[in-house]
């Protein structure tokens, strides 16, 4: 076997999910005996046969990626339960193994994947989706770029034709539940530590976590960073839609129109709303020059 053939064979074996007993599977994906495949390129020693030697790497791989995903989604794990989360994580990572040099990006497709696979979240699918969105937004907001915000003078000079950019670390979410408080609560319980983009777990017990009652109601949420910490801020629907339109490079006038489309806020109060939003956005440094402008 040449180098490429060895690497492809070994990667296929290592990435294959473990058995229920956390051992390497007896068959490859295409039905060949794993013991024969291992023996075709791995040498035995006096204590371990080729299958057992390859199995060490298979186990190490899953230990590492499952641990990493659990670190980034502790609240999702609490919401669906540890056992269901493990199954969910194995299924997700089998379909979406890491495509990045950094484990930081391991969960980048989890929200979309979970949307297509409600069976892995059980009856709490909508809540699980919301929690996953919030936790992924945390990862993104934690280390996304920060651009220079517009100065008060620049903001004062804006008009309806102005196009604006938003801070790269600002992430906007539409949720089915007001799940932000639940996530914060669960992170506290999981002893979330400030890390590169995740948490550290205590040795966990697998008993399901008793969740507080979370009311189902449409919620618009922003995750953003202030002084190196990630915060969540609830938004009015109109404020959210305006920010979304700005992010899509629509002009300020168009964005405000989009924000108030089908709004129950009376016309006479809208100017005050916009003024208030801009005050907050300026304070938080959310507004920047449009992409490609200084």
């Amino acid at each position: 076997m040449n180098l490429e053939a060895i690497q492809r064979a070994m990667a296929a074996a290592v990435l294959q999910p473990l058995t229920a007993n956390e051992g390497m599977r007896a068959k490859t994906v295409d039905g060949r005996a794993m013991a024969e495949v291992a023996a075709s390129f791995i040498a035995p020693n006096s204590r371990l046969n080729p299958f057992e030697r390859l199995e060490i790497y298979n186990r190490q791989y899953w230990l590492r990626v499952l641990g990493s995903l659990a670190e980034d989604f502790p609240a999702l794990r609490a919401v669906v339960g540890a056992a269901r989360f493990d199954a969910l994580a194995v299924a997700y990572l089998t379909e979406h193994p890491s495509r990045s040099f950094t484990l930081r990006n391991l969960g980048s497709k989890l929200v979309d994947w979970l949307k297509a696979h409600p069976e892995f979240a059980g009856r709490r699918h909508a809540l699980a989706m919301d929690v996953a969105r919030i936790e992924w937004a945390f990862v993104e907001s934690f280390d996304s770029a920060e651009r220079a915000p517009l100065t008060p003078a620049q903001i004062a000079a804006l008009d309806g034709s102005s196009r604006l950019g938003l801070q790269p670390h600002l992430h906007l979410m539409v949720l089915h539940y007001a799940a932000d408080e639940l996530v914060l609560d669960l992170h506290k319980r999981e002893k979330r530590l400030t890390s590169e983009a995740g948490v550290e777990h205590e040795e966990e017990e697998r008993a399901p976590v008793n969740l507080p009652k979370v009311r189902r109601r449409a919620t618009w949420l922003a995750a953003h960073r202030v002084d190196f910490s990630v915060y969540y801020r609830r938004l009015a629907r109109e404020e959210f839609l305006t920010l979304e339109a700005l992010r899509q490079a629509r002009s300020l006038g168009e964005a405000i129109d989009a924000g108030f489309a089908e709004s129950a806020i009376p016309e006479r109060r809208r100017a005050a709303c916009v003024q208030e939003w801009f005050g907050t956005w300026a304070e938080l440094g959310w507004i920047c020059a449009a992409d490609g402008e200084a």
């Binding site: 690497q7 040498a43 193994p97 920060e146």
Partner: protein
């Protein structure tokens, strides 16, 4: 001996890995530490707390970068985004040299995030040396490759691990990050004499040495970096220092991390061997 061209002629002394649980101690107590090694990938980001913390460390300490995902031995090409971000970080830290592992870990853009061993073949020598050379040229700083712990050997291998390492570094004209714990772990797993390895490697190319602890299982040893350094590994270290001269040395402790003082004290045991070496003895030992 003031280092060599593979560590920019810097003899940094004894350092430890920069780890999050120690941040508070470092910033509040400002301990005297010769240098810190950082995991490059933790800081190859756009912004945020990790980079701000790194900048604070850089103000007060010498930092050397150590990577875990360059995969010099992978047959598929490296990710250009990885290289771009790595170079950006090199400029930020001004690391005098940079290390990563003599291993592979990705195929067609799918990453295992593991340090997978290479078959010791001439084909692997050619491909790996070529990639090391390209990365070194791109980064414009000395690169050192680290020998990994391994649990599997390949039927295709045509030479010993130390012969493979020597061929790669000679052809790539790069340095070695000699991990004496990894030598011990691999020696136990592959049933060779670890001292043969230390005695055979090209000592003049050793830019840095790693020491660490490991975990022993019934049928194999795992490189876990979660224990103190055991005596047989110190023996390998002593011999390596005898052959290489005083060399920047770093203790790795990545799991079940004890207090800063405990980790630092374990690392400083290396000084027992580092300061024992007269230059003439080093020459003789080679």
């Amino acid at each position: 001996m003031p280092g060599n061209r593979f560590n920019s002629f810097q003899n940094h002394g004894v350092g430890i890995g920069l780890r999050i649980p120690h941040y508070e101690h470092i910033f509040s107590r400002k301990p005297v530490v010769d240098w810190f090694e950082i995991i490059s990938e933790n800081y190859m980001i756009d912004a945020g707390r990790p980079l701000a913390t790194l900048d604070r460390i850089l103000e007060q300490y010498r930092v050397v970068q150590h990577g875990v995902s360059m995969y010099f031995g992978s047959v598929t090409a490296p990710d250009p985004e990885h290289l771009r971000r790595l170079k950006q970080l090199v400029r930020r830290t001004k690391t005098p040299w940079l290390s990563d592992h003599l291993c592979w870990g990705s195929v067609d853009g799918t990453y295992t995030h593991d340090l997978l061993p290479l078959p010791y073949t001439w084909e692997a020598v050619d491909r790996t040396a070529e990639r090391v050379r390209r990365v070194q040229d791109f980064l414009e700083i000395p690169v050192a490759v680290e020998n990994v712990s391994s649990y599997a050997a390949f039927t295709a291998s045509e030479m010993t691990e130390w012969e493979f390492l020597t061929e790669v570094v000679e052809r790539a004209d790069c340095g070695i990050l000699l991990d004496v714990n990894n030598i011990y772990v691999s020696a136990m797993n592959h049933e060779f004499n670890p001292m043969d390895y230390v005695n055979a490697l090209p000592a003049h190319r050793v830019a840095q040495i790693h020491i660490a602890g490991h975990s022993k299982y019934e049928k194999f040893i795992l490189d876990t970096h979660d224990h103190p350094v055991i005596d047989p590994v110190w023996d390998l270290y002593a011999r390596a220092v005898e052959r290489c001269g005083p060399t920047p040395t770093l203790l790795e402790w990545d799991d079940h991390i004890p207090s800063f003082d405990e980790v630092h004290a374990e690392a400083l045991k290396a000084n027992r061997y580092l300061h024992r070496q007269a230059p003439e003895l080093v020459e003789a030992a080679r």
